[in-house]
């Protein structure tokens, strides 16, 4: 897998697993061992999708009743 911040490449397991904010999404948070950035990783594809900054939620919003809580849908 390739870090989307610094392009460091290693097997996915080398990127420290942080957590999965949404159990029903395959996007997890991992940390690049080289630049220490938090990455949004698609576990199905084994790809780092994005760098995660404070406040960002690449996994989107819980299902529930949509449209009531304002949120960014991804």
């Amino acid at each position: 897998m390739k870090c989307s911040a610094c392009a460091f490449e290693a097997p996915i397991g080398k990127f420290r697993y942080l957590y999965n904010a949404r159990i029903d999404s395959s996007i997890t948070m991992r940390q690049c061992p080289q630049c220490e950035q938090w990455l949004a990783v698609d576990e199905l594809l084994g790809e780092a999708k994005d760098v995660v900054n404070p406040g960002e939620a690449p996994w989107g919003k819980s299902a529930g009743i949509e449209g009531l809580a304002e949120d960014v849908q991804v």
Binding site: I12, G13, Y17, L18, Y19, N20, A21, R22, I23, D24, S26, T28, E43, L44, N53, P54, G55, E56, A57, K61, S62, A63, G64, I65, L68, A69, E70, D71, V72
Partner: protein, 834 residues
């Protein structure tokens, strides 16, 4: 003219702020100057993401004063030795009076200090060297003081002593940190307090003690017999009670003296001088004598709380302040008109602030489980009187209004709802929730009174006096109902039940055989075999925790000693015993706190469906996936998350399993016995234990990986997994009996602030609450802050310092909790009502 224009401007801008739901600014604009000063003057004591705020220091004056006298009295009965040491602290610790304040008393020698209770566990004491920033200057000197203290206390703390009598295997497993949370000693504890008794005044209690001692001395002079032998041990205990009660009175007198000095020599403002003289008069009166007015009753109460927290780390605050102080409010405000409503509100608001500012050092693991706060200080509001009539009063309303003005994250309120609660009081509750405080939590009083009678046999009149013993568990505040010590150290990391059932009792995370060997699941022929293994692991887990806590409880008077608590416990005063001694009539009110509980039902349901019913996967495949922490099994994992039935959707497949698990636990709860020979029901709830245990619970069949937060607790559905709406959640939760199937059940719900605005919003909420009550649920609490605000707060924490959220049994400032916890809260489903 000018004034009224100014007011309209102020009002209109407040309206605007309300429309934008900027509640912190609404509070700032509407509260008195005094409350504004006092609120902003508070030093934040809760840890921020696990670390203390800059400027917070450990108080070293306290332990130094204590140990001076402690060593002088070496060899005396522990309660007496401690009484001497505490009295010395109370006589000499620096005290202070903050500008504008009217309620006195603080634990520590300056407002930015937190106390460190070093008599609990030496292991924790050793950690203090690694704490950055909280060692007072000059650091070298402080470190030397700490080292000397640790040298002396190593091996002498309560838990050190307990470890020597525990079964060694139990001790290793208990201390592994994997299965339980907390320490079985009253060195880290909380206690119910009976203010009907305490408000007699310390002088009256002293007279009672005196009488007992005289009686006893007379008996000791009489005919020698085995009956009189135990009396010899009682005398030093009574003496200890005398010493601390007298020291408590002197401590208050010190404030009276300071207030008088300030009035006479320092204060030039005549109004403040009046206040200082009133403070002096108040502190001369209480706690020595019964209170006569609201200021005296609040002051008496606060002195008692402060004195107990000098004695030990009281991590919760069982209390019912509206009930206790209501009559004094009524007398001052309604009858004598001695106080205006605004003046009363100032006192009530300050009561919240004085409580909020209390800080006690906690080790890192405890701070992680209780992010952002010092302890779970849930005050009980509303409810009924012993005769069953409505107990809500003007003070109930005043506390709710004051809470919105001072917006503290601690204490929070739990409201005892019952069918006779008036609409105006319900509106006050809703306003607090709507203002994003996350409290009050709503409790179903008839259900919980029945529950309290069912599990322990408390008489119904006594059960009706109940307060939240910690976040959730009701406890009567009566002579034999009061619980002197935290028994909830029997806090079970319940997800381990299913984890061990799937691993033959082995813990793959801490790498040791923990539970009994219940067999290789690959050999199980059907679901019943798996369930049987689960039952055995559940029983083992509860047994080891309950055993340890029972022992800790019985040994506490010998290993720790509570002179002050004993002096305010009627049954201890009467019998010359330590308050924690279960032989003095304690009826028992123990419970096992169940962290990470719902994972069991969801995991069992997934396996039942996929492995045994549909045979879509073999047990081999499931175990392989779990052992790989689902890495490389993402598709299968998503199948387990999305296509297996999940608790909270009114789906009988999984709900029936939940009920079955609870019934097994209930049966076992009656087999487990506390030292008073009473039961140990389960109480599912998490503080932020779901985050603390994220790295201690391995992958589970509900689709969770090692490292992921667990569900947010109690009987709350997994975040985002309750897809059928709020009524389905309530219906699932209503499928078991909240009286007989456990002690209490925490339910978190998120509601939309936009949907619940205005009168319509209140009516929607009220209808929801009716369904909740009709279904017989015992608890529900709400977060009403929208995702956009929470995300913005993550992005720009400086700007959102004051956003409060409900974490679990407590509220915290959102910016003080870790990102993992923040994300966990945001992921909770926002339920649309109506």
């Amino acid at each position: 003219m000018g004034q009224s224009t100014a007011r309209t401007e102020k009002e209109s801008s407040v309206e605007e702020l309300k429309n934008r739901r900027e509640w912190w600014f609404v509070a700032e604009k509407t509260r008195s100057k005094r409350l504004d000063y006092l609120r902003k003057g508070v030093w934040k004591k809760g840890a921020i993401g696990g670390n203390y705020a800059p400027g917070i220091k450990i108080d070293l004056t306290f332990p130094q004063l204590f140990i001076d006298k402690w060593q002088e009295h070496e060899g005396e009965a522990i309660m007496l030795q401690k009484a001497h040491a505490l009295a010395h602290v109370l006589d000499n610790i620096p005290i202070f009076i903050t500008d504008n304040s009217q309620i006195m008393g603080y634990i520590g020698s300056a407002p930015h200090n937190i106390v460190w209770h070093w008599q609990g566990i030496s292991m924790v004491n050793e950690e203090i060297y690694n704490e950055e920033g909280i060692i007072p200057e000059p650091e070298e000197e402080s470190l030397e003081i700490l080292a000397n203290l640790n040298d002396y206390w190593g091996g002498r703390t309560a838990v050190d002593k307990l470890a020597r009598v525990l079964d060694p295997e139990d001790a290793v497993k208990f201390m592994s940190g994997a299965i339980g949370w907390g320490t079985p000693t009253s060195a880290a504890t909380y206690s119910t307090k009976d203010f009907d008794y305490i408000f007699k005044g310390f002088e009256a209690i002293l007279a009672e003690v005196e009488e007992r001692m005289e009686e006893t001395e007379e008996k000791l002079q009489g005919n020698p017999s085995p009956e009189i032998l135990p009396l010899y041990d009682k005398l030093p205990r009574w003496e200890a009670m005398q010493i601390v009660l007298e020291a408590g009175i002197r401590y208050a007198e010190r404030y009276a003296r300071l207030a008088r000095t300030l009035a006479e020599h320092f204060e030039s403002d005549p109004e403040r001088r009046e206040e200082l003289l009133r403070i002096a008069e108040t502190c001369e009166r209480v706690p020595a004598k019964p209170p006569r007015n609201l200021q005296e009753s609040l002051q008496f109460d606060h002195f008692v709380q402060v004195l107990s927290r000098y004695e030990t780390f009281e991590g919760a605050w069982p209390h019912r302040p509206d009930y206790i102080h209501g009559p004094y409010y009524d007398k001052d405000v309604n009858q004598d008109k001695r106080l205006s409503k605004e003046e009363a509100l100032d006192l009530v608001g300050e009561h919240l602030i004085r409580t909020h500012e209390v800080g006690i050092f906690a080790p890192k693991w405890a701070r992680e489980g209780l992010q952002g706060i010092t302890g779970t200080w849930v005050w009980t509001m509303g409810g009924v009187k012993p005769d069953g009539s409505d107990a809500c009063n003007d003070m109930t309303v005043a506390y709710m209004q004051a809470a919105r003005l001072v917006r503290v994250s601690n204490p929070t309120f739990g409201f005892r709802w019952h069918p006779k609660v008036k609409d105006e009081v319900m509106r006050e509750c809703f306003e607090c929730i709507r203002h994003g405080l996350g409290y009050p939590s709503m409790r179903n009083d008839p259900v919980l009174v029945a529950n309290t009678v069912h599990w322990y046999g408390h008489p119904v009149e006594e059960a009706r006096t109940w307060v939240h013993q910690a976040c959730m568990s009701p406890c009567p505040t009566t002579k034999y109902g009061c619980q002197p010590m935290r028994m909830a150290s029997a806090t079970a990391n319940c997800a381990k039940m299913i984890e061990y059932a799937l691993h033959d009792g082995y813990d793959p995370v801490v790498n040791m055989q923990m539970g009994p060997k219940t067999g290789d699941p690959r050999e199980f022929k059907d679901f019943e075999d798996l369930f049987g293994a689960w039952v055995k692991q559940m029983e083992w887990l509860r047994n080891i925790l309950v055993r340890t806590v029972n022992l800790g409880r019985v040994k506490d008077p010998e290993f720790f000693g509570r002179p002050f608590l004993s002096a305010i416990y009627e049954r201890a005063v009467e019998t010359g015993t330590d308050a924690c001694d279960p032989s003095n009539g304690d009826r028992g009110n123990a419970w096992v706190t169940g962290f990470t509980w719902v994972e069991n039902a969801d995991s069992l349901a997934a396996i039942k469906k996929f492995v045994y019913d549909e045979k879509k996967y073999t047990m081999d495949e499931v175990l392989d996936a779990l052992n790989a922490n689902w890495v490389g099994y993402e598709e299968m994992r998503l199948d387990f998350v999305k296509n297996a039935p999940k608790w909270g959707n009114d789906d009988d497949y999984v709900d029936d399993l939940m009920v079955r698990c609870l019934r097994e636990v209930s049966r076992h709860s009656k087999e487990n016995r506390c030292p008073s020979n009473n039961t140990w029901p389960l109480l599912p709830e998490n503080v932020s234990g779901n985050i603390h245990y994220a790295n201690l619970v391995g992958a589970l069949p509900n689709g969770r990986r090692l490292g992921d937060a667990l569900y947010d607790g109690g009987i709350s559905p997994g975040p985002g997994l309750d897809k059928k709406g709020p009524t389905a959640v309530l219906k699932s939760c209503g499928k078991f009996d909240h009286v007989t199937d456990g002690r209490a059940f925490l339910l978190n719900q998120r509601l939309s602030p936009t949907q619940l605005s205005g009168e319509k919003g209140y009516q929607l909420w009220k209808a929801y609450m009716k369904t909740w009550a009709d279904l017989g649920l015992d608890h529900v609490q709400f977060n009403m802050v929208d995702d956009a605000t929470l995300r913005a707060a993550q992005k720009d924490p400086e700007k959102y310092q004051e956003v409060i959220v409900r974490v679990a049994g407590y509220s915290a400032h959102f910016v003080d909790i870790s990102r993992k916890t923040q994300d966990n809260i945001i992921q909770r489903t926002v339920q649309g009502l109506g």
